[in-house]
Subunit: 302 residues, 2 copies
């Protein structure tokens, strides 16, 4: 599971920093999460193949999370994209995009599907045989969702050494991966545990931006492998985080601790701070495994 931070600063694009956008690579999927102005250039800089992006998840309709979407959709058009593109985001996003496409006399040569969200409860957005994506309802000034990306329970891993001693047809291997036992010709049963190892634990990524501190998300993100939680401010500016419905680094760490996640990534820093290390220091007083998002940074969790 690999997370590439395209941008992680709040508010406005600047010369050397970008507002929110991330790429999550999980089980052969390349998911784009939020899409601020400049995202397509950041994708190029990070060498992410445009054609691999089939799903875009937009948390909320503040500009620093979606003003780059119309440009990306247009560029896909100019590049003669053929794959379907699915956009998940708050109700209203479809009208905004289509109004602009119509004004330019354009239409996409590919199928563009909008999945508009209105629910205040967590809901299933996407599922295939390997991955599930759900919303994480957040508390912000406008309707906002985070997103939980979950690997499905993976298969048991074959113990080739053990299997070799039985000289068995490979056709049965799939059955063993699913937990089935082996029945020999003489009727003797060899239990699955002697033929396979436990599966690799499925990983998960919980993306939570933008939001005020809210424990309502804990049951959804519980024990996630990685939590990205916004920390627009430090505790010294908690009056601003309350007022603007954002979080502090300490609050992000509290959520990480209470949800018992393995790793916390901080981001969405206010541009008032010159040194983002202060966010890590503040969060580390509460939680041990704190990572700082930064533009262009790639983080792999094995």
């Amino acid at each position: 599971m690999k997370i590439t931070i395209l941008g992680c600063y709040a508010a406005t694009p600047r010369t050397f920093s970008n507002p929110t956008s991330q790429v999550l690579e999980i089980k052969n999927h390349t998911f784009l999460i939020d899409c601020a102005e400049g995202t397509q250039v950041q994708l190029r800089k990070s060498k992410v193949k445009f054609s691999k992006i089939n799903h875009v998840f937009i948390s909320h309709l503040h500009g620093d999370h979606f003003y780059g979407l119309i440009g990306l959709i247009s560029t896909f058009m100019l590049l003669n994209r053929e794959n379907d593109l699915h956009v998940y985001g708050p109700k209203g996003i479809k009208e905004i995009i289509l109004l602009q496409l119509r004004a330019s006399g354009s239409y996409t040569g590919y199928n563009l599907y909008f999945h508009e969200l209105v629910s205040k409860e967590s809901e299933l957005l996407f599922e295939d045989e390997k991955v599930i994506v759900k919303t994480i309802p957040l508390q912000h000034r406008v309707y906002t969702n985070g997103f939980l990306f979950l690997e499905k329970n993976t298969e048991r891993r074959l113990n080739f050494e053990a299997l070799a001693s039985y000289n068995i047809d490979k056709l049965y291997f799939n059955k063993f991966k699913q937990g089935g036992d082996m029945v020999l010709e003489n009727g003797v049963i060899i239990p699955n545990a002697q033929l396979t190892f436990n599966p690799i634990a499925p990983k998960s990524y919980a993306y939570c931006s933008d939001t005020m501190y809210t424990e309502s998300i804990l049951p959804i993100i519980e024990k996630a492998t990685v939590l990205y939680h916004e920390s627009t401010f430090l505790e010294s500016e908690s009056h601003l985080s309350d007022k603007t419905m954002h979080s502090t680094a300490k609050q992000a760490a509290l959520i990480a601790k209470k949800a018992q996640v393995q790793h916390l990534i901080l981001g969405h820093y206010s541009t008032r701070y010159n040194n983002i290390e202060m966010f890590k220091e503040e969060a580390n007083t509460i939680f041990h495994s704190v990572h700082l998002a930064d533009d262009g940074k790639e983080m792999e969790f094995i």
Copy 2:
């Protein structure tokens, strides 16, 4: 008169090139012309003060000319702008911007005025005591205007040496600048020509992008100091320029020659070309004073 090219390539933003946006500084005005994605970052890189921009002119509603406008308007909001902002552009631009501001639950603390254009004839957009701005109706796939920026006739320049010999009160100087004669106490008239020099010739900037070759613009841009004319293609790709209603470098030069302008700036290059010098070479076969726009380039015409 100074032109700063923020971006001058066609179609999509790339790692090292930007779609169309320019700043024109003329007679204490700072006009923004077109506003593609990434314009606000390009403004920062060129150190143009955001607060000086009070007028934005949008040629047409293709993304590579206006997708950066909503971001700029939002950033002005976050910077607590107070000055009025005037946006001139095709009908439809107001709905696109306001829909997005409403979706984000935002409103601008400054007055935001839209001047929506529908006319196919050249019309006056702006006038004060020093500058006039008019539309230049262009021929493109969607409704498009170029813009003509004209300095007004400037005042006559005082001949201080001549004036000193008369020991006259400075209160009269303004009258002489306007062409008035001097009447001495004894009734003798000193003609203005002995007291002043001719005024500096007023300068003008004609911005024409995007457009196919059309001689209908000649009467409007005639004898302009500087013409910016799009040259998306070279003559070797004239089949593409015809199809997409763009121009070649040669066609841009022909317009410059027929309009008897002083200088031609080329831009809006298709990203298929690796070397923009070829545009200059092609145009130079027709017209002598050819300048190449390039991102970040500043051009001053005195």
